[in-house]
């Protein structure tokens, strides 16, 4: 009884896990703020080299924006208790996420092989791009792993109470990495 009272009590407030996620988002933002401000400082020093943004990053942008839409659909179907649709949308989101990461890697290899942006010696926008987009990619990868876990759970899950909190947390995170990508892309186009 006391447990249900606690749960009842918490329903009025924002769920602790969601709150934790928001704080974590603030924390991740600080890391990228550190990196992008380092970019600005460094770009005023001698030997800075710009890069041509590989075209594939536009396609990866489309992929991640689409995946945000499908993630939202997944959350909606979960709330409407449409399990089958939920699984489908999660699967599409995962696929789009993987496509995004693969295209990022393709973009890196284009920079490396065609624009000859290697790591040794002079450091400019290209090297920052590897670090910053790479770290962003790792965050997307983390989201993909979480989604895969949820996808598997959707088949074997035996939860007593039907709670949309985990899906909401995942969706918020997913939209966050999407927006973060758009910020980083705009940053590189405007400043870089």
């Amino acid at each position: 009884m006391e447990i249900s009272a606690t749960v009842e009590n918490q329903r009025k407030k924002i769920h602790p896990h969601k709150y934790t996620l928001w704080v974590a988002i603030g924390s991740i933002l600080m890391m990228f703020a550190g990196l992008t401000s380092a970019f600005i400082v460094k770009s005023n020093l001698v030997g800075w080299r710009d890069v041509k943004m590989p075209q594939i990053f536009w396609f990866s942008t489309v992929a991640i924006i689409l995946s945000s839409v499908t993630m939202h659909m997944a959350l909606r179907s979960f709330r409407n208790r449409e399990r089958l649709k939920y699984r489908q949308f999660i699967a599409i989101t995962v696929a789009l996420g993987i496509a995004f990461v693969v295209m990022q890697l393709a973009g890196f290899s284009e920079l490396w092989n065609q624009q000859h942006v290697t790591l040794k010696g002079v450091t400019g926008a290209g090297q920052f791009l590897y670090v910053i987009f790479g770290l962003h990619g790792l965050h997307v990868l983390g989201g993909i792993i979480a989604l895969i876990v949820m996808f598997i759970r959707a088949f074997f899950g035996k939860s007593k109470n039907y709670s949309s909190v985990p899906v909401e947390v995942a969706a918020t995170y997913w939209h966050f990495v999407d927006l973060l990508w758009i910020y980083l892309l705009v940053f590189f186009i405007v400043i870089g």
């Binding site: 602790p16 709150y19 934790t20 030997g47 790591l119």
Partner: protein, 602 residues
């Protein structure tokens, strides 16, 4: 994971809490109870004991390099017995000396005073004082400890690699830290340092996220934010600082790892080393310093704020008076938390920083004196006309205020960019930050340990040993660090292995000997404290009442040895602020007591 918040509520209702000593009604295996525990109290103790182990290691390092500073050229054959080649002939080799200085700083700042202090007390106190059964996510909390443990193992292993641990100073400035050719310590030791710190950052982020969402979301009924005990507010600001500043250090560490291992030049430019011209161009070592100190300065308050919060609580309890200026305490902690992010460049006055920019940072730095002074006055006025009980915890709390004043005043010198030109990188700086941040926070930690030990283990620590511990430590701390101010004003640089080449510094020979001898004595007394700590866990005098200090806060409404879940029945409801001491003729009124109809206002 939300189910995990209420683990075994049914089992905690079973009685016999008073004589339960770690086994019995929980039916948990040893591993899930003591090793991979999700109980915030056990995790707090894990942080504490790991922190104690690190404190011994880090403290021992300071004894070793003090031997070199106090008795340069003197042979100590025992050093060769223990450290072999690194102290061949009983003399500490220069490279070893720099490793000792570097690791002393790293260990004490991060592993003892960050993880050991806020890790311990945030975990232990937050759920108990806000009236929650556990943290928002006990699982993340457990991960936080084990990331810290992994970071510890890696940092410890770096002490044993052939080329020795990192030796570029705890700030790890490039190019020294970025180039393996720069010295033995810049080889694998620095990689291990960076990896260990990355894991440490993950640990403190996981912990910090949890502390914040627990404090904001899990408070019991009636526990509004302005009814929170001050340690909780302090730990809250600490967590916010950590969550916003550690990621920036992480970004610096990542770029440094790239420079070290992949040949990029984020921080490196135009370097010739041993006649070899390196291809790096256009990097900026100053950029690293900005990234480092953007964490590094808030880190000072990450260390200090928990001590401030606990001192406020212990002082109020043992003065039998309400804390003076509760809202002013909150406001000043908030101001400190904001200013902490705006003063980092005062560590960089002599790096070629634009003098105008420097003057802005001077102004912001000196502004910190305002909230600091408010806090000091509030502590003093809390003591004023109090009915003071000089428990060991209370003595350490008073000692904290003394050290905070002494060390804070020298901050006014260093915060001025013009005076800093003379004083930077001298022993004056060493004296300043050791007193105001290092020793003061250690005092806050000791105060917390002595005060909450009965809640942690259901026993008291030995008070006689505690008094000896306090008096030797505070007298020793002043004897060690006070003379360093004079050395620094005379221009003696910090971190130097041997200054006998300067005739003007030779007059300080005896002073250095004295400092070293006192350091050894103080270190020995800390070992006595550790003996007292572990002895008391098993053999200390048992606590017989659930509220031994007559305190108002919620942790003393739990059974003497609370199980997982903290309260056997319902979580108590809170009706008042936590500092109703000496009110309406009563010695104290617990937070759980409803406000009477004809009660006076505080």
């Amino acid at each position: 994971m939300s189910e995990a918040l209420h683990i075994h509520p049914e089992s905690t209702v079973v009685g016999h809490h008073d004589d339960h000593n770690g086994h019995g009604h929980h039916h948990q295996s040893f591993v899930s109870k003591y090793v991979f525990s999700m109980d915030h109290k056990t995790i707090g103790k894990q942080f504490l004991i790991t922190g104690i182990v690190w404190a011994v290691i880090g403290g021992l390092f300071s004894v070793l390099f003090r031997l070199q500073l106090g008795f340069p050229g003197q042979e100590f054959p025992i050093l060769e017995t223990f450290f072999g080649e690194r102290a061949a002939g009983g003399l500490i080799k220069p490279e070893f000396y720099y490793s000792l200085v570097t690791m002393h700083g790293t260990v004490l700042v991060f592993f003892v005073l960050t993880a050991g202090l806020s890790g311990t007390f945030a975990n232990f106190l937050i759920p108990l004082q806000i009236g929650a059964r556990d943290m928002a996510s006990p699982f993340l909390n457990m991960l936080s400890y084990w990331f810290f443990f992994l970071a510890s193992v890696i940092m410890l292993s770096s002490l044993f690699v052939q080329t020795g641990p990192a030796s570029g100073g705890w700030t790890m400035y490039p190019p020294l830290s970025a180039l393996g050719q720069a010295g033995d310590g810049s080889k694998i030791g620095t990689d291990l340092w960076l990896i260990s710190m990355a894991l440490f950052i993950v640990s403190s982020l996981l912990g910090g996220l949890n502390y914040i969402s627990t404090i904001l979301n899990m408070r019991t009924k009636g526990m509004s934010m302005t009814r929170l005990p001050l340690p909780i507010w302090a730990l809250f600001f600490t967590a916010v600082l950590g969550v916003l500043s550690f990621p920036v250090l992480l970004s610096g560490a990542i770029l440094l790892l790239f420079d070290r291992n992949l040949g990029t030049s984020f921080f490196l430019s135009d370097i010739v080393i041993n006649g070899e011209v390196l291809p790096n161009e256009g990097g900026s070592a100053i950029l690293y310093q900005h990234l480092f100190w953007f964490l590094g300065h808030p880190e000072v308050y990450i260390i200090l704020l928990p001590a401030m919060g606990m001192v406020s609580e212990i002082m109020s309890v043992n003065s039998r008076k309400p804390i003076f200026g509760y809202m002013a305490m909150l406001g000043s902690m908030f101001a400190i938390a904001i200013l902490a992010f705006l003063v980092w460049a005062h560590h960089m006055f002599v790096t070629g920083l634009n003098p105008f920019l420097g003057s802005v940072f001077v102004l912001l730095t000196l502004l910190i004196a305002v909230p600091s002074a408010i806090k000091v006055f509030n502590w003093l006025t809390t003591l004023w006309r109090g009915n003071i009980r000089f428990t060991v915890g209370m003595l350490f709390a008073i000692g904290f205020v003394s050290l905070f004043i002494s060390g804070g005043l020298t901050g006014i010198f260093l915060g001025n960019s013009t005076i800093d030109i003379h004083l930077h990188d001298t022993m004056f700086v060493v004296a300043h930050f050791h007193i105001v941040m290092g020793v003061a926070s250690m005092f806050g930690m000791f105060a917390g340990i002595y005060h909450w030990f009965p809640k942690m283990y259901g026993r008291y620590m030995n008070a006689t040993l505690g008094y000896i511990h306090f008096w030797v430590t505070i007298i020793g701390a002043y004897l060690i660090f006070w003379p360093m101010h004079y050395q620094g004003l005379a221009g003696i640089p910090r971190r130097y292995l041997d200054k006998s080449g300067w005739h003007s510094f030779n007059q300080f020979g005896d002073l250095d000997k004295m400092i070293t001898v006192v350091t050894i004595v103080v270190f020995a007394v800390q070992l006595m404290f550790i003996f007292n700590f572990f002895y008391s866990i098993f053999k200390g005098r048992k606590v017989t009442s659930s509220n031994p200090w007559g305190a108002t806060t919620l942790e003393w409404t739990t059974p003497i040895n609370p199980g997982h879940g903290n309260w056997p029945g319902e979580i108590p409801e809170v009706h008042r602020w936590p500092y109703d001491y000496g009110k309406d003729g009563r010695e104290y009124i617990p937070q759980t007591e409803p406000v009477g109809s004809n009660e006076s206002k505080h």
